[in-house]
Symmetry: C2
Subunit: 183 residues, 2 copies
């Protein structure tokens, strides 16, 4: 579930109200790492956050409007985030970078001390998580309303890399080979 | 921003903790309509929710790891939801259905009284909303680390409709014509 995406929605409580922000993530066997200072406002209170990763696979077009829906896979992770520092932060940033942009940790310039200090990485345990999945055809095959019914799949795919205006290098293989692959 | 998607992430506060759930939405000039009973737990308290709609357009592959990022468009809407009833609920369901699955309100069987009673639709004013956009090439053209840099675009497209096993009807034109179009 986590492998097939790189953007999550991070939910925090700020002054009693919910705030949901998209951000990038990486993970290992025990923790999810999320990027961004957005959550730091709620961090000081040691409060719980919710990280939701959602893949939308298609539209379920049923015989009845009532049975219409979405084929999707979603993971919700709850936990009190830890603000990472030092070598653990660097390792989490490597993990997050390699999950989002494989090959770039060795290819791009790694963060210097100042950049690392300006980066916020939160770790949340994968201990408390729930997964929801809806797949397959509409559930109203017995509905007397006799029309076409089925699924309209939705797919995400990487397109051709667009170099920035000043680049003279060819597209490196680790980037080029993602073109046409699905997320 | 809202036109280009159909799944949002709804953030609510339950027992003091944030909960972020994906759900479908529709909208008109003044309100966003979200589907699902998920938020009803927090509804009784008349508390604020946050609805976030995010489009991920591509990966920003910079010269430095620090400048890596995502090209995206995101809208956050804050408000106290109203639980819709009666004709207003039916009209919001029509709006949401036609936004998500254009043409299906007239093609599929409309909800009967029992189905409508079992459907939860929330309306949230679009009054309090903020938008964040990041587009374009990496911002570190002056970085001395001389490598390829640019954007790896990500696109979502509707695939060919998959009929359910019992269907004998041809795919109706309003569904067929979405194939190959981007979200």
């Amino acid at each position: 579930m986590l492998r097939g995406g790189f953007v999550c929605h991070l939910g925090v409580v700020v002054d009693g109200d919910p705030m949901v922000v998209p951000t990038v993530y990486g993970f290992d066997s025990g923790q999810i790492y999320v990027h961004g200072s957005v959550a730091s406002r709620s961090l000081t209170q040691g409060s719980t956050v919710c990280v939701t990763v959602t893949h939308v696979d298609g539209l379920v077009l049923a015989r009845s409007v009532f049975e219409h829906g979405v084929n999707y896979r979603s993971a919700m992770i709850y936990g009190i985030p830890r603000l990472l520092e030092g070598p653990e932060k660097l390792e989490a940033l490597r993990c997050l970078t390699e999950h989002t942009a494989p090959g770039q940790w060795d290819y791009a310039r790694r963060p210097n001390r100042k950049e690392l200090a300006a980066t916020t990485i939160l770790a949340i345990s994968l201990q408390e998580a729930s997964v929801k999945v809806r797949q397959g055809p509409p559930g109203d095959a017995d509905d007397p309303h006799d029309v076409w019914a089925g699924v309209l799949p939705l797919a995400q795919a990487w397109q051709s890399p667009v170099p920035d205006a000043l680049v003279t290098h060819p597209v490196p293989e680790h980037i080029r080979q993602r073109t046409g692959t699905s997320l």
